[in-house]
Amino acid sequence: MCTTCGCGTDEVKLEGGSAGHRHVHGDEHVHADGTRHSHEHGPDPAHEHSHEAGEGHGHSHAPGISATRRVQIEQDILSKNNAYAHENRQLLAGQGIFALNLVSGPGSGKTTLLCKTITMLGGLPVAVIEGDQQTSQDAERIRATGAPAVQINTGKGCHLDAHMVGHAMNRLELKDDSLLMIENVGNLVCPAAFDLGEAHKVVILSVTEGEDKPIKYPDMFRAASLMLLNKIDLLPHLDFDVDAAIAFARRVNPQIRVIQLSATSGEGMDEWLQFLRDGLASAVAAKQETVDSLRQRIAQLEAQLASTPAQG
């Protein structure tokens, strides 16, 4: 177990050994020494402390009796994950990387779609993080396309969290101005709540599933900005009602964008590839804007410095 953050490396496995732990865990491990007290208090539940270092505790205590007190927490249960996600997002923005979190039920064709996408993008740098409970088969399939991939095995976990993804990003040595595809564990429930630092969640629904999945698993369809309706080449053989599926998705998420495609026949793939290229272009532009504004600021400061009379 990581002694810094308590992450269970005994459960979660990052392909290729330990996670490396080069991360900086914010300020939550910094303890204000001098605030520790070992004395016991009298039975006064309303007893309040500010516990400043060096504070004189002049009041008397009943020895041997420990009292209860209330501690206000007021913190979101997911606040730790969200802090890691924020760190990931900043790293991605700094490198102009467009990152997507691909979510779906098992068997929707995510990995096949991803392999096809990488091949069709032809040379555009793409890195992949694969999440599964067990095996590194998916990462191996991705690597066969030539793209770098890291497998995270979540063990008992049913979703990826931002902390695991941060480690995996570290391992991948991501290129500037590239795409990062995070293929989440096949599960339409749990991954909805966990922000990984991605630009968008993309939910994949295949036409071999029920068209009512969006209302059966509304959290996921609400969290996603794009729905890929996959395997449409099979439509002639099925009773799947495309319009109903889209209507259900829009009922839980009126803003959701829908692209119908088939990784097998290639139909609809152009629209999806265009979505990726547009997303990457805006990520790169946003990075450039930050760099330009920093350069401008440096130039301003240098000009100021130059105009300041030298002092002897």
């Binding site: 007190r69 501690v71 913190q75 979101d76 249960i77 008992k156 509304p218 609400r222 839980v252």
Partner: protein, 113 residues
Amino acid sequence: MHEMSLAEGVLQLIEDAARRQAFAKVRTVWLEIGQLSGVEPEAMAFCFDAVTRGSIAQGARLEIIRLPGTGWCMACARTVPMTEVFGECPACGGHQMQVTGGTEMRVKELEVT
């Protein structure tokens, strides 16, 4: 959904607070769980018991405060109660609804010694 991870998240927040506030034992934990958060209180209680075993929160009482679901109906232009994230407006029956409350999952307060 994923109550086990959430229970672990709760324990992490408790342990962080214990380091900051120097307490050794947790008696009661108050959680605020929104009606639309997807969290089952019974599952949460079960997982909380499991993950706190051997920790400073072992045996702590878990109090779950349910917060009601609310949404903004675009057609009615007002806030209405919601029981499902894709629910209909109880006034007009429409689906043009934006969730405005009830997705909370927070650790509110602890009783400690």
